[in-house]
Point group: C2
Chain length 517, copies 2
């Protein structure tokens, strides 16, 4: 596929000639063609204005029409799966199989949202009919449903170049809801961004969508992203990335004359609590499964298990096995040089804190752009006394904390918000430790019994969101069909003539959706 390195402004390509870098192969440090060109300020303005202009037409399409658009995007992405599989590993250091798998997840996600809106009940239609004779005053006819917020800004993630990027979860849910999307590309994988952006534009043209329903912007630093977030026509923001990046967007959004919601998924260390009964089922096998979760994708998952609690005196064989796995652990190429450096600095910072021991460190030499696993050990007492031990090490690093059940429960209660928390225990231990379970429940979006948090199912009951700072706003999820409500608000119609109501609210229920009435 011939890549131009230019932004997509509605149905046109940017005319910019301002270079803002290029993709870099993280395994070699080599620059990858083409040169990327930054969208100009006027092109950013045009993209947002086109989105604003498209809102009325796009939001008034039926669910079936918007669903057809999402399905066409999925088909177009499948048609370029070979290009993605060829380019992706060069830009991200991820293996080809991962790119193929993520392509499938992305198209599956688009079709899941298509099904949701084609069926239509997601709008939560509520109908209360008039009671003209009700004392002391008549009851009006009142009907409500969810409506789209308006144009949405979506920021691509470094670690999911497809499933959380140009046509990823936020884009799919915003387009499903009826919101035009302006995507800000990630500098790490501009080639994939352009490929997928082209697929969306082709699908938009093919299915007769209004120009402006989608744009894709390239830019250096944060200027393009900040310009989009501050634009008065933008009504919500989706972001997956660092805590610094997410909180900067939150501050910008809150400082607007009209503050807008920001859904930033930022930082999570995903505690695991392993109780003795779970260890008794086989400490070495558990260590192997844990190590596989820790090092999957070189640890570059938001659900990576970066914190493990063991009760005092338990788990020696688990730790011994983990130690040998980490010491012989293979280095892996990280997504980009910045992430590689940040990981090594974060791990060094944790390792230098008083009371922290290095349990194990890979003995293998790291090649260009590579990092290797490391595991640290600390007492629960020291853990709770130093907030810095909660810092995320984005990569294959974990911190093991040992203490009494009481200390572990207190440490969990003092944790920052997390995407996930996992309890390994017998059913008897589960029943015997309600305070621990409550503490875990209160600190996370998804609570697992056994297993590992990596691997996030895309379905209607998934909650991939948790209290701050795992996300900016724990009231929503970035994965699964509930994510559509990031980009909607409830709206009511009072005493409206039936024919002027949206089909979802009309007396005859022409769409045949589930309603509360």
């Amino acid at each position: 596929m011939n890549l131009l390195g230019t932004s997509i402004i509605g149905f046109s390509r940017s005319q910019s000639t301002t270079p803002c870098g290029h993709a870099v192969n993280p395994a070699t440090g080599e620059a990858l063609a083409p040169q990327i060109l930054a969208a100009s300020a006027s092109e950013v303005e045009t993209a947002v204005q086109l989105a604003a202009g498209a809102f009325a037409a796009y939001s008034s399409l039926t669910g079936k029409q918007r669903g057809g658009f999402l399905r066409a995007i999925a088909t177009r992405i499948e048609a370029i799966a070979e290009d993605i599989a060829a380019r992706g590993p060069l830009e991200t250091g991820l293996p080809e199989a991962r790119l193929r798998g993520e392509t499938g997840r992305t198209t599956g996600q688009l079709r899941l949202f298509a099904s949701l809106i084609e069926e239509g009940s997601w709008v939560d239609a509520r109908i209360e009919r008039a009671q003209p004779d009700r004392p002391p005053v008549p009851k009006p006819d009142l009907r409500s449903m969810h409506v789209p917020l308006g144009p949405v800004a979506v920021f691509c993630a470094s670690n999911f170049p497809l499933a959380f990027s140009v046509a990823g979860g936020d884009t799919a849910s915003a387009l499903a809801a009826g919101c035009p999307v302006v995507v800000v590309a990630h500098h790490s994988h501009p080639g994939l961004a352009e490929m997928v952006g082209n697929a969306i534009v082709e699908a938009a043209r093919e299915t007769g969508m209004p120009e402006g329903v989608f744009s894709l912007l390239f830019g250096g630093g944060r200027s393009v992203g900040q310009a989009v977030v501050k634009h008065p026509a933008i009504q919500a923001v989706g972001f997956t990335g660092s805590r610094a990046g997410g909180t900067a967007l939150m501050a910008s959004a809150a400082a607007r004359p009209q503050p807008i919601p920001v859904y930033a998924e930022m930082s999570s260390i995903n505690p695991l609590v392993i109780l003795p009964g779970a260890l008794a089922k086989g400490e070495e096998a558990l260590a192997e499964a844990f190590y596989a979760s820790l090092t999957m994708g070189v640890g570059q998952f938001c659900t990576n298990p970066g914190l493990v609690f063991l009760t005092e005196g338990s788990g020696d064989a688990f730790l011994a096995k983990l130690q040998s796995l980490v010491e012989s652990g293979a280095p892996g190429t990280m997504l980009n040089a910045g992430i590689c450096k940040a990981y090594q600095e974060a791990a060094a910072a944790i390792g230098s804190i008083a009371g922290v021991e290095t349990l194990a460190r890979s003995a293998n030499a790291c090649g260009h752009g590579q990092s290797a696993p490391v595991a640290f050990l600390v007492s629960a007492r020291d853990f709770v006394s130093n907030h810095a031990l909660q810092a995320e090490m984005f990569g294959p690093a974990t911190l093991i904390v040992r203490g009494s059940i009481g200390e572990i429960t207190a440490a969990i209660a003092a944790l920052e918000g997390q995407l996930t928390a996992t309890l390994h225990a017998t059913q008897e231990e589960l029943a015997a430790n309600p305070a621990l379970v409550t503490a875990l429940r209160n600190r996370c979006g998804r609570l697992l019994f056994g297993g590992f948090p990596t691997g996030v199912e895309v379905c209607s009951s998934m909650v991939h969101g948790g209290p701050f700072p795992s996300t900016s706003d724990g009231r929503s999820t970035s994965v699964g069909t509930m994510a559509i409500h990031r980009f909607t608000r409830p709206a009511a119609w009072q005493n409206f003539p039936d024919a002027a109501l949206p089909a979802e609210l009309q007396d005859a229920n022409p769409l045949g959706i589930k309603r509360t009435e």
Copy 2:
């Protein structure tokens, strides 16, 4: 009822001896006993800590248990209806009948939320069962439902001393969701606050609720309120009041180490568009009905119709009738001296803007604390050219704007967010003006066809919330059962043993609720 003027800290009374004012009869300027005493910093801390301590126990009660608490509150409030009817008019200038009506609305609201949680389906339970054999990876068992956020701060409103105050909508929905509540009283009606606070504490004791499920704080200025909002244990804020007050709370909440959601209902001028076909049905009668809505409660409603659009050349008889009604309009006592002054200043400011004519002003003299109706007139061209004309005049004032349909549509599209928008038209005019209807729909939470926005039905389909600045966050409502989701977040359980799941998610569905599975 013997009033002490002291805060309620859990099940105890404040020991403070620091005066912070007293209620004032707005009709006379007289001070009303008792002296009000400000909660000390350590009492504020205790109240929030008690709320945090009560969260685990309170949130794990069944819906039926929490429903019993809400019903007991309603019963206790009914038992003091005579006290409320006697004290209320002295503190607020509102007539006794209004206090009685609002008492009924408040108890009805508590029972509506009780019914909602006793039934239980509101949690939106979603169940996806495991598929151990699914390729390429097994599907886990995933179940989700809404859980409460944690302790909530609720600020009382000046203009609804019962229905949006101590036991008002935010308190009812937070308690229903499973969140302890710390209420910050409004300085305007401390006696009513104490009465209702006592009723809640008695109901909490009677139904065995944990201490800390409710506290009520008095304080001067904004210090107590800000201390509560900044407290790390508080997880959400409900507020009804001025734009300055609401945006100050938004800024404080956003600046916390852990930002929290603020639901502030602030400012709305509630546009009405009256098209010629609606005028043809009787201009004078329409003017009378409009005037009744404008002056109800001395215009002190968030849904007061402060902006009316007429098409050029139409509505002369409507305006003539409105003019005569306003000129002979009776002054009314406003809620407090601050609101009275702010109203007069806001009306004077609008009246002094270039292009604005005074259509009519009441010829009657205002007594102590009173204000009278006023109506202004401006062209659509001048209206869109000056943003200051969108300022709320909180009281019985309105601004009439005349222009072409195109100008009106453009003016609506340029409006700040509104709680409501109302279209008076024939069905033919409704069908002939889709751009106008879309513009109205995009700018408000509740869209009315005919009628007037004052009078907000408490029901499952009500949306009393709209785009900023009508509220801080148009994704929610402060009235009706959907308000419970202000204080919840979705949470998922993965591969949990059935017995350890909340009843709502257990296989046998022991609560018999509606679920998605």
